[in-house]
Amino acid sequence: MKDKIEQALKHSKADYTEIRLEEREATQVAFRGKDLETTSASIDQGGIVRCLSRKHGWGVTTFNNLDDLLSKVDQAYQCALVAQSEEPIELAEANPVQDHVTVKLERDFRDISMAEKKALAEKHNQIMRGYSEKIIDTRSMYADSFSRIILATSEGSYLEVERPSVAVVNIAIAREGDNVQTAYKTKAGPFGFEFVQDEEKIAKEAARRAVELLSAQSVKGGQYTVVANPELAGVFIHEAFGHMSESDFIYENPKAREMMVPGRRFGSEILNVYDDGTIPGLRGSQRYDDEGTPAQRVELIKDGILVGRMHSRETAAKMGEKATGNARAINYRHPPIVRMTNTAIAAGSTSFEDMIKDIKLGIYACDAYGGNTALENFSFSSGYAYMIRDGKIAEMVKDVILAGNLFSTMMNIDAIGDDFEWIYSAGGCGKGNQSPLPVAFGSPHIRIQKVVIGGE
């Protein structure tokens, strides 16, 4: 294969050519309610060629049939000639890399029988179903995948990389009359089967939470002091702030550039935010991104001040900065775009007790059920939440949806906890039709003043 790839690269008339081939084997077992919904195995093999004509733009072809790389390169080059960029497109300098990244899995899931995978998902499912008669529906899924990727560029990079992923997802749905509540708990990471074994506690937690939510009252809409748990704070920093630090959002948009100008104060001095693709064992980690740039730690906010942003080689060149290893693609059907890896709010110094002790009336919002942003406006639903009354966690409430303006909300973060954790949840990030990309987020508890909570 290597010869065929190098021959195709040599054949290309483009200023820059990139070939990425992928072979992915995946299995999945899913229970829904009392039924086994799927046991499936898939084989996905394909490739992408990306050509750049500096004076024109990008041309891309994706395909399943790997026989004729030469004609795919020609086709991508023809596509590139159609584009009409006003200024020549440059790529930030890169040192060509040659590497072979293999992974060693403790219990390689490719050697584990479907029977054992099914037994695991079934056990989780039974725990949820057996928890209470009020649990009327469940989803318990086990999924693994192993990708082998070859990335080769006309600048001389040649990488062979292995990317494993294993995940369990538990969703419990409880009902009482017309009141239906959902809770979920997941665990995922770039590991072998051992990572998800003996994790029945997450099934129990999903079931317990769904049942508890049945007796929760809807939150009363209004403005509150909110304490967010690490998972919600992590999702918030990823969705609301992180996406605006992806330079493809900024680089061709003068107004966004003004908004995200380095040196702008984003929060008080206690706020530090970074993206780091180098931390072993996290879902967003990778030795190299999908342009061959080594992963690194990118400081985004330092002592409350905006200090950095994430780049692909193209956005870096355009903004006169260096590539940061954030050009990522979910698979061979897509070109890389600027994406986060593992994004976090760094630990602060406030204990959880100190954080809530002076709150007369507030909300302790936990986990995220979904989030959405439109530039500076965001909306997140928390998975579950409690009222804080007179400095103490009080009754559970449901339908807690946080909405607001990013800038004022970040400025209103006035306490950061000393209890930092990384979240190993499944799912991932969606952007530009590429979803789900494995990412991780981390944070301690944080306290935010004046958050608007929707509600009737």
């Binding site: 077992v29 829904r32 309610g33 039924d35 086994l36 799927t38 046991t39 499936s40 195995a41 898939s42 084989i43 996905d44 093999q45 733009g57 990008w58 041309g59 891309v60 072809t61 994706t62 395909f63 399943n64 596509c79 159609v82 584009a83 009409q84 960029s85 479907m114 009327i136 529906d137 749905i173 009141n179 239906v180 509540q181 959902t182 809409g221 403005q223 061709e252 948009n253 107004k255 059907r333 059920y369 979904g370 989030g371 959405n372 439109a374 530039l375 500076e376 406006n377 965001f378 909306s379 997140f380 639903s381 339908d399 949806i401 909405a403 303006n405 608007v452 929707g454 509600g455 009737e456």
Partner: protein, 434 residues
């Protein structure tokens, strides 16, 4: 080797779905034509029933047939019994889903269309950032099974989507529009004119006070009400018991002005086809008839489990087994002209788009969303855009009383055809300034 023949000797029932797509896309980013793309995908998905148990496997490597066979048999070995029958050959309805005028669109022609759209938007509002994607393609699916049935569907989808960002200081407006068809529509500029009109209306900012007021949902805004319903009528959510509609068949649940139809037999629409993805002929499904619940949407498996019949709503992608999925969802037009609806509003809100559409526990019918594009209506006139406000409610309560449904309808997000819907009193929460 034919995998269907081979597996027939090893299992009672076999289904082989062969999927193939080719598409060409041009993408404008930040007002410039940045990328063009040619994509080809192909693959096989196989289901078997062996000893009464269902198995599934798929592959995009069409040469890996031995592995595919082994995978599907292993899957069936651990599968659950499902009383499912793959359908015998049946005649399909006549539906047009293919047009040479679309498949013949060259890259330069797509570029020209994109440029026309871009120029129109920039004429209205020179200081905006526009992303446009135009994609045309051919998609083919053949579903064959052990009975000799062979359902072939060939479509020529054309999809145009655009996003316009306008940033002025800390004020941001983001508009998104998307349209899809399978037969050529000469007036591809309609969407651009519409987005231009929205930009014009969005220029003037105004404030609104929290409270109960009449709320008018535009066709794109009406998705806020439509998405929870879409989940509620899905046979799978009925079978699993999470749909609030599960035990409400034949009941009068909504205002008489509400009728909901799933219809894949309309010529040229994005979700149309003669057969569904399991080889079942498509039909017009009246789901809600003048406020009365009439039908749920089923695929073969969910129908078999739930003791119902497939409604021709099996939808699939290569690597996922079929699931119940709506085709084209149509909320039937009413008898009030839009201008009369507007004229009757003394003080209210027009909702075009919300943030976090479909987010939260919407299966229960409940939604709560900040407004991303909404206008205040005073004395029958649109007086300006409203920022920092949100709406919340439950569609199963709200749709019991509907003031009016418009004569006008519009296709939004490819598969939905929706009218304007006026609700008499909804809670609107506005953020306190500061």
């Amino acid at each position: 080797m034919d995998i269907l023949k081979q597996l027939k000797t090893l299992a009672e029932q076999v289904e082989v779905a062969s999927l193939r797509t080719e598409s060409t896309t041009v993408e404008f980013e930040a007002n410039k034509l940045k990328t063009s793309k040619v994509e080809a995908t192909s693959g096989l998905a196989v289901r078997v029933i062996r000893e009464g148990k269902l198995g599934f496997a798929a592959s995009s490597d069409e040469r890996a047939l031995d592995k595919l066979s082994a995978n599907v048999l292993e899957s069936a070995a651990y599968g659950d019994p499902v009383p499912l029958d793959f359908p015998a050959p049946q005649p399909p309805p006549q539906v047009i889903t293919y047009d040479d005028k679309i498949t013949d669109l060259s890259i330069p022609k797509l570029v020209e269309m994109g440029q026309a759209i871009l120029s129109h938007i920039l004429e209205v509002e020179p200081e905006v950032r526009v992303n446009i994607s135009l994609e045309r393609g051919i998609s083919e699916i053949t579903v064959r099974n052990h009975t000799g049935a062979e359902a072939f569907v060939k479509r020529s989808p054309l999809s145009i989507s655009m996003q316009v960002d306008r940033i002025e200081g800390d004020d941001i407006v983001i508009l998104f529009e998307m349209t899809g068809t399978t037969v050529w529509e000469a007036d591809f500029m309609a969407l651009a004119r519409q987005i231009g009109e929205k930009l014009r209306l969005a220029r003037r900012l105004t404030n609104i006070k929290s409270g109960k007021m009449p709320v008018l949902f535009s066709p794109s805004g009406a998705l806020v009400l439509g998405l929870p319903l879409m989940l509620g009528i899905n046979g799978k959510n009925v079978y699993t018991g999470i749909s609030p509609l599960r035990d409400k068949m034949s009941q009068q649940l909504f205002d008489k002005k509400i009728s909901l139809v799933d219809d894949a037999t309309l010529d040229g629409r994005y979700g149309s086809a003669p057969y569904d993805d399991e080889g079942m002929p498509h039909q017009r499904n009246v789901v809600i008839d003048k406020g009365q619940l009439n039908l749920f949407l089923y695929d073969l498996k969910t129908a078999a489990l739930g003791g119902a019949k497939s409604t021709g709503n099996g939808g699939r992608s290569l690597f996922s087994p079929p699931e119940p999925a709506p085709s084209n969802l149509i909320l039937e037009a009413g008898d009030t002209p839009l201008k009369d609806m507007l004229a009757g509003i003394e003080h209210g809100l027009l909702v075009e788009d919300v943030l976090g559409l479909g987010q939260g526990n919407i299966i229960s019918g409940a939604f709560s969303n900040p407004l991303s594009l909404a206008y205040k209506i005073e004395k029958g006139e649109i007086v300006g855009r409203v920022k920092n406000a949100s709406i919340a409610g439950n569609v199963y309560e709200l749709l019991k009383e509907v003031s009016a449904v418009s004569q006008e309808q519009q296709w939004v997000y490819n598969n939905f055809n929706l009218p304007y819907i006026l609700l008499p009193a909804m809670n609107v929460v506005a953020q306190e300034v500061g």
